[in-house]
């Protein structure tokens, strides 16, 4: 079907979203809560666009295209809305390990500090309760991606959800218990989708704390998990000839970015060997 985006009319496949169409046309649309392997939950509102004859702005990530739709992705109204979203997030949340969010703040000239020094934040202590990954909810934008990855989209463990209402809403295990007492199985599939570094492998967290995390120097090498026979693809993140983190490619059909505890965290055995 035909739709018009930013004055250009194009053919798109029925069932696509406005985001799909915009990407197809090479238009860079910001997203935070959207993930290629996840069902959209439409919470971050940073992808909103203006659709003619629609009263409200619509989320590009989940709104399906319609014949003859006319869309504006960079109108003043859209820019203002995106700017406000980033100002609200930036004022309340530590975005220091969220490169995409920082880029959007710059792109939309957002001023998160305009609410003054006393504006509410979600600042809190980092939760370090196991050796595999840490949770720093002062960096959490409540995008729900971790909840979706832990839930029906991937892992189906349902160890976490959003608890509380309004500004008190937060990601929580059952009764807010520490991870070792929760249903968590440490697949780290939540860590994999987190867009802000609120969830982080402890290996990365420790290196950052020590000032030794040098992402720009890291090599990424794709290989296959050494454990069971499913054949999950691993991306080894390598710094100073050592694995510092393991992820899996989103676009590989075996894993869709997911791993189990052994694949994501069980690599240390190759590093505990001492030269003879």
């Amino acid at each position: 079907m035909k739709i018009t985006i930013d004055g250009v009319t194009t053919d798109v496949q029925e069932g696509s979203t406005i985001l799909d169409a915009a990407r197809q046309m090479g238009i860079d649309t910001p997203t935070l809560c959207y993930g290629d392997t996840l069902t959209p939950v439409n919470v971050c509102r940073v992808c909103v666009v203006e659709v003619e004859r629609s009263r409200a702005l619509v989320p590009a990530c989940s709104r399906k295209v319609e014949e003859g739709m006319v869309v504006h992705t960079d109108s003043e109204r859209v820019r203002t809305s995106r700017r406000l979203v980033m100002e609200l997030l930036g004022s309340a949340v530590d975005l220091s390990t969220a490169p995409e969010a920082l880029a959007y703040i710059e792109r939309y000239e957002a001023k998160p500090d305009r609410f003054g020094p006393d504006s509410l934040t979600v600042a809190q202590a980092v939760k370090v309760d196991n050796e595999l990954y840490v949770r720093d909810y002062s960096k959490c934008i409540l995008c729900y991606k971790c909840v979706e990855a832990c839930g029906v989209d991937h892992q189906n463990t349902f160890a976490i959800t959003v608890a509380g209402r309004g500004f008190g809403a937060h990601i929580s295990t059952e009764l807010d218990v520490p991870l070792p007492e929760s249903a968590c199985v440490y697949c780290g599939n939540c860590v994999a989708v987190c867009p802000t570094g609120a969830l982080m492998a402890k290996s990365e967290f420790d290196l950052r704390e020590a000032g030794e995390w040098r992402e720009e120097e890291q090599a990424e090498v794709d290989t296959v998990c050494p454990y069971c026979g499913v054949g999950c693809n691993l991306t080894l993140h390598v710094q100073d000839d050592a694995i510092v983190k393991v992820t899996s490619p989103d676009d590989h059909d075996v894993t869709r970015g997911n791993l189990c505890i052994k694949g994501r965290f069980g690599y240390r055995y190759v590093q505990t060997r001492k030269p003879a």
Binding site: N156, V224, Y227, I243
Partner: protein, 537 residues
Amino acid sequence: MFGAGGGTSSYEETRAADLIVLWGSNAREAHPIWFHHALKAKNRGAKLIVVDPRRTPSAQWADLWLGLDVGTDIPLANAVAREILEAGFADIEFIGRATSGFEAFRESVQPWTLEEGERVTGVPADAIRELAHSYGSATNAQLCWTLGITEHHNAVDNVFALINLALLTGKVGKWGSGLQPLRGQNNVQGGGDMGAIPNKLPGGQDVADDAARAKFEAAWGASIPPNPGLHLSGMFEAMEHGELRAAYVVGENPAQGEADQARAERLLSGLDHLVVQDIFLTRTAQLADVVLPAAATLGEAEGTVTSSERRVQRVRKAYAAPGEARDDIEIVYELGRRLGHDLGSTKPEDVWNECRSLSPWHAGMTYARLEELGGIQWPCADESDPGALFLHGRLWDDVVEDRAPFQAVEHDPPVDALDDDFPLRLTTGRRLESYNTGVQSGGYSSPLHVGGTDILLSPADGERYGVADGGRVRIVSRRGAVETSARYDPDLRAGLAFMNLHFPDEVATNMLTIDATDPKSGTAEFKATAIRLEPVA
């Protein structure tokens, strides 16, 4: 199966199935990402049926759980087959066109009424009926199994019993339905495909096949013995009889991984010469005369591995191996050179291309294509072949030259029988966070490792034998004894206990297990040990 040693189906078909049967498989813990594919189907409305003595985390997802007694898979399968026939779900047209041996098979399952099935397996007749009707009426059914089927003294018969069900209902050889033996190790499929099976050359070609052997002999300039070699259990037999005096063990820890561990250690220690090539100084390596330190597959080596869906994928090197550790290819080729043979280039891609030139399954899999396509499923005949999502499509041809045989199989209970002295059935399996003898998974710690050395007991057995939840217990089998802590597990039925093999340095479960092995596959009966419990004060 049917002449090709690989699962017939793809993960893609698992996602699209309307029935998934997991038989002797706890994939939720042992194959977690495969289980994601199964859950995609389940969440879409597919039915999941789990056959397992334990109510495992996989069984907890099931629409129907059949908690059979350990070692009664054949009676259960035969009762399912009989009910499929009785209820009219058999695909008579397919059977007549594509199979052989049906009449003998039909005869063999006649005694297995639902009632007889219930009596022998412990599974209620209604549940057996529901499995039969679900499987018989499904359009796209995946029948999947793991070590619950194969770690028995009659492993191959167990597999035949499941294959019979697929043949009976025409659920193999077409998109959507098939048989999946889920592979437990990242390259156990590839190892077999490369000829690490006593009667096979690379690409599933038989050593007894003169033409196949001649092809390899021409390429290698050496003669190949036409007789099959020994599988692992056969090698231990031969050690026992003094016929095998030297062993070269690569990437395996049989001193702790074999059933009846005391015997395994004794036989390995008694060899004239033992060479171990490994990434660690394992217990087996500690017994060796020569240890060859090897590079790890993870991060230190180049090559390929083959997954459960026959997908050949590239493994890649990220950095150099530590110390003097060397790549497996280099070690083997250097050994060849010292023995007077130039085996050629040690470049992994060159070795792979040699394999492609000799194995029709792999012929079309260039490194470039493996990279571009994210792996390729064999067989892949040439560089225009996308590979095979499923096998045995020939069974649906109008005329089937090479028919798939039914194999009538009889019940043969576990060798380690229960009696008054050893009244409890101990079975073994894998935990989510751990792996085999723990050589790899012992290298990291996690909250899930906690309690890994416990024996799990049903609360009823704990009370009956005076073993408290959390109490110490001595576990005695006809071969040995170990001591550990007990934990009550309400998902175990009375009479069934569970241990894993992951922490052999702390609790050597294989001191208990029996080395009764399947004569065809060489697999030991890790799944069925008779034990008694002695509370430790």
